[in-house]
């Protein structure tokens, strides 16, 4: 069942400076996310991958195309009319240091989306406890401030906040890029575990092919505002067809000296071609 259907999405940013030309950063991107699946969106900086996520979240207004969630066209909704979507579409951002309000306790941060949806304070408190447990944080975390937690723990708080209203889709914008290697793996596993338990779908944005490979069912490759390749994770990340995806794959260093030497040679050959 198609949950999110993005078709021919275009986004234009106003140019900088006086009478600067507006710049189109997405030139008609179409993709779909099914219920319960992870679509990995991979690309380098400037490819527009973050912008797709922000457009789905309603933080960026598209200049063309359509975004349909569960059959409902949502890209042209006014902020007030979007509110009911907050229950279904949530977000986890890249930077766990700025995505949590430093002056609110973790409990307040998690309860907020629930209270907005009309939950009573008591229900919200009970739900916060479940959420903290679900992301592997101690129950007393609710009374503490975000700055008392490490990067990985904060990202768990951010995941818990996204899970709070039981959404059907979570947009994950580079959620593990700022984390240490060992933390990164644990947080990715948490994402997978939650998906299995709840059936939430992820639109997972990352620049790191190995992260994308680890978590995605299907992968879409974005290059300078255009979708260049889409397919199953195995197709795209192991045997890419498009020249850019191949370049991306060969550029990522393998964590093994011998294998990396081979990859470097392959890359040299590919570039010489």
């Amino acid at each position: 069942m198609t949950l999110l259907d993005v078709s021919d999405l275009r986004v234009t940013f106003p140019g900088r400076g006086w009478r600067a030309k507006p710049a189109e950063v997405l030139h008609g991107v179409s993709l779909t996310v099914d219920a319960g699946e992870t679509l990995g969106l991979v690309g380098e900086s400037g490819s527009g991958k973050t912008t797709i996520g922000r457009a789905v979240l309603g933080l960026v207004r598209p200049s063309g195309g359509e975004i349909a969630f569960d059959g409902e066209e949502i890209s042209s909704l006014k902020p007030r009319d979007r509110r009911h979507l907050a229950k279904d579409i949530q977000v986890v951002f890249q930077d766990p240091y700025t995505s949590l309000n430093p002056s609110l306790t973790v409990g307040d941060i998690l309860a907020e989306p629930l209270v907005v949806q009309g939950a009573t304070a008591k229900d919200a408190r009970a739900r916060v406890k479940t959420l903290l447990d679900q992301v592997g944080l101690p129950a007393d975390a609710a009374e503490r401030l975000p700055r008392e937690f490490s990067g990985g723990q904060r990202q768990r708080v951010a995941i818990a906040r996204a899970l709070a209203p039981s959404p059907r889709l979570i947009v994950c914008d580079e959620p593990v890029s700022a984390l240490d290697l060992s933390t990164q793996e644990r947080v990715l596993d948490l994402f997978i575990e939650i998906q299995r338990a709840t059936g939430v779908a992820y639109l997972f944005v990352s620049h790191d092919l190995s992260v994308i490979r680890h978590i995605s069912h299907r992968v879409a490759v974005l290059y300078r505002g255009d979708l260049v390749e889409t397919g199953t994770a195995a197709q795209v990340t192991l045997a890419p067809q498009h020249a850019y995806t191949q370049r991306l794959l060969l550029a990522a260093p393998v964590a093994d000296p011998v294998a990396q030497r081979e990859r470097r040679e392959q890359r040299r050959l590919a570039l010489a071609r």
Partner: protein, 606 residues
């Protein structure tokens, strides 16, 4: 948003060791409630105490006085201090100075409340609205407040006297509006900064309305500076009210410090003390308010992290014995300890007894997670540790010379010539207001002492060598005109200009796209072979280590846990931590195979 900002937006902000130390201290401070921290500040306690005492006097006026403020007794004209019933004497019309002084306190308090209150209400609301909402709203508020700011304050208040009818409360109301642009500016700037924070985006995604976001996420965060500004504005409202009264503007029925000073002034030669009391009281109130504002600022805003200062030389506790020269080693670090002293005064060791060696022409990868002390070790070798850092023990030998304990001047002779550095974020290491070429030429001239012309020729050759297609064009560009990858090439060109023996690279490719990273690593590898230069590569990426390093040193919490030839460590790691790190690397070949969860129940999460 971020896609507009060019190639550096992928920058990963893993916290530095100093930041972690600072954060732990901040977290400890955060657990003490605000009011308790305020009560620990003597400046706050003293100034707040004085103000409370004075304003209590004002409130208790009816109990403390026997006369009315305007009750004149001609027999008491200029009565001296200590006259019965007139403790501070009487003024030129025979009014009790003590009574008038207490009444003036109330006038001052009401002035402060109205003036600062109006300024805060108008300024905060307009600042929130102007900062948060779109362009048009912002333009309108901006223009309005700029217009208000152009009014000459005191003059306007005097001109408007017929309108206000001499009522100082009305005057203070207008003065509050005139003060509001100050608050407006503060709030608007803070809001503009806060509204692009990710947590505000997250709140929007959660379906919060604008009003709720403004009150809960924005106002709450910007409250500190507003409270502080409020204290200062109360002081200036009192001062202006007194000033106007001194000039004789406004109702003469209202006792105020200004009117009393004015009257005392006229009587200065007859009874000098009449002038003294109101002046002292006014001075005490305004000074207390300003000092209270400062105390609030210190507590609410905390001590900001200071910019990293280099240039005092290395602070050393204990200097190692000069060791024997070992000619095969280029760098020999032994038992190095680095500590930071937190605000609480206790020293925290972030590097504890690190020993490592680098041979000539060898590429050593220093690997670890955030807070492992890898960058601190590299910075100590460069001699650029921040001023708060202390080298507690150990030695760093470079080509047989001891580096620990050198002054900054002595280190400078080495940096840029024998030891070069490339940073993690190339853009922040280029000055945005100078052309790229000029910055490189300056560096080359400082290091090599050649003429400007020769330096330019060298730089152009180097830029070309570092893979820049059009060196002349890049030479004449400003940093914002080139990409992140290009900037890193520029910095590498600058670093190798003097053919250094050691290049220290701190996460040189972390902030770059992976395709650009591969090119930068190729460039470093080629330059290393060409110049036979040793590289100390600080990184958290094992792929980068596998690509370029001969040896690998793994650090954890300030200690080296494993060191060895790269292939050996990758194939046969001995330490558990190394094994854990290597195990955490995401596999290159296994893809996710479990199918998408089909048709979940309505409401998804349990």
């Amino acid at each position: 948003m971020s896609t507009q900002d060019g190639p550096l937006t992928e920058t990963m902000t893993t916290p530095s060791t100093e930041l972690i130390v600072a954060m732990e201290d901040a977290a400890a401070a955060a657990r003490t409630p605000m009011w308790r921290r305020l009560l620990k500040d003597p400046q706050f306690v003293v100034t707040a105490g004085i103000l409370i005492f004075i304003f209590m006097l004002g409130l208790l006026t009816p109990l403390l006085t026997q006369h009315g403020p305007n009750e004149a007794d001609l027999s008491m004209v200029n009565a001296p201090v200590g006259t019965p019933g007139y403790p501070l004497g009487a003024d030129e019309t025979g009014r009790d100075i003590w009574t008038r002084l207490l009444h003036s306190i109330n006038t001052a308090a009401i002035s402060a409340l109205i003036g600062a209150g109006v300024a805060l209400v108008v300024g905060v609301i307009a600042g929130l609205v102007g900062g948060y909402f779109g362009k048009v709203t912002r333009a309108v508020t901006e223009w309005t407040f700029n217009l208000v700011m152009t009014f000459p304050g005191i003059l306007l208040l005097i001109i408007l006297m017929p309108v206000t009818g001499g009522d100082y409360r009305f005057t203070m109301l207008i003065f509050g509006v005139l003060l509001s642009p100050g608050i407006y500016r503060i709030v608007r700037n803070l809001v503009v900064g806060v509204k692009n924070e990710l947590y505000v985006d997250a709140a929007r995604v959660s379906g919060l309305g604008n009003l709720r976001i403004l009150s809960r996420h924005v106002l709450f965060v910007v409250r500190g500076p507003i409270i502080i500004a409020g204290a200062f504005m109360a002081g200036s409202a009192i001062a202006v009210q007194s000033g106007l009264a001194f000039l004789g503007v406004g109702s003469i029925q209202i006792p105020s410090f200004g009117a009393m000073i004015s009257s005392g002034f006229r009587n200065l030669y007859v009874a000098p003390t009449q002038f003294l009391w109101p002046s002292l009281m006014l001075g005490l109130i305004t000074a207390s308010l300003v000092l209270l504002g400062n105390a609030l600022r210190d507590t609410l805003e905390g001590s900001k992290p200071k910019p990293v200062k280099v240039g005092r030389g290395q602070k050393v506790v204990e200097r190692a014995e000069t060791q024997q020269r070992d000619s095969t080693r280029l760098v020999e670090i032994s038992d190095l300890g680095i500590a930071y002293r937190g605000p609480s005064g206790r020293a925290r060791e972030v590097v504890s007894g690190v020993s490592l060696t680098i041979d000539r022409g060898q590429v050593v990868g220093l690997v670890g997670e955030s807070g492992s002390g890898k960058t601190q070790t590299a910075f100590a070798t460069l001699g650029v540790l921040p001023a708060e850092a202390i080298i507690t023990r150990g030695s760093i030998l470079f080509d047989g010379e001891e580096l620990v304990g050198r002054t900054d001047k002595q280190m400078r002779a080495l940096r840029g010539t024998a030891i070069a550095y490339i940073p993690q974020e190339p853009m922040s290491n280029l000055d945005p207001s100078y052309r790229v070429g000029a910055q490189l030429v300056e560096g080359v001239r400082a290091a090599l002492g050649v003429s400007r012309k020769e330096a330019r020729a060298r730089v152009l050759a180097l830029l070309e060598r570092c893979g820049i297609a059009d060196p002349v064009r890049t030479f004449d560009s400003y940093p914002h005109e080139i990409s992140g990858g290009m900037a890193q090439r520029v910095l590498i060109a600058g670093a190798v200009a003097s053919r250094p023996r050691l290049l220290i690279a701190d996460e040189p490719s972390t902030a770059l796209d992976v395709t650009v990273q591969a090119e930068i690593l190729d460039l470093l590898r080629d330059l290393q072979a060409e110049l036979d230069m040793a590289i100390l590569l600080v990184t958290h990426n094992f792929g980068v280590v596998a690509d370029i390093c001969d040896r690998i040193v793994v650090m954890k919490k300030g200690v080296i846990v494993e060191a060895g030839a790269t292939l050996d460590v990758f194939r046969n790691p001995h330490d558990d931590y190394t094994k854990m790190l290597l195990g955490a690397i995401l596999d290159e070949s296994t893809v996710r195979t479990d199918p998408a969860v089909v048709a979940p129940a309505e409401g998804a999460v349990r």
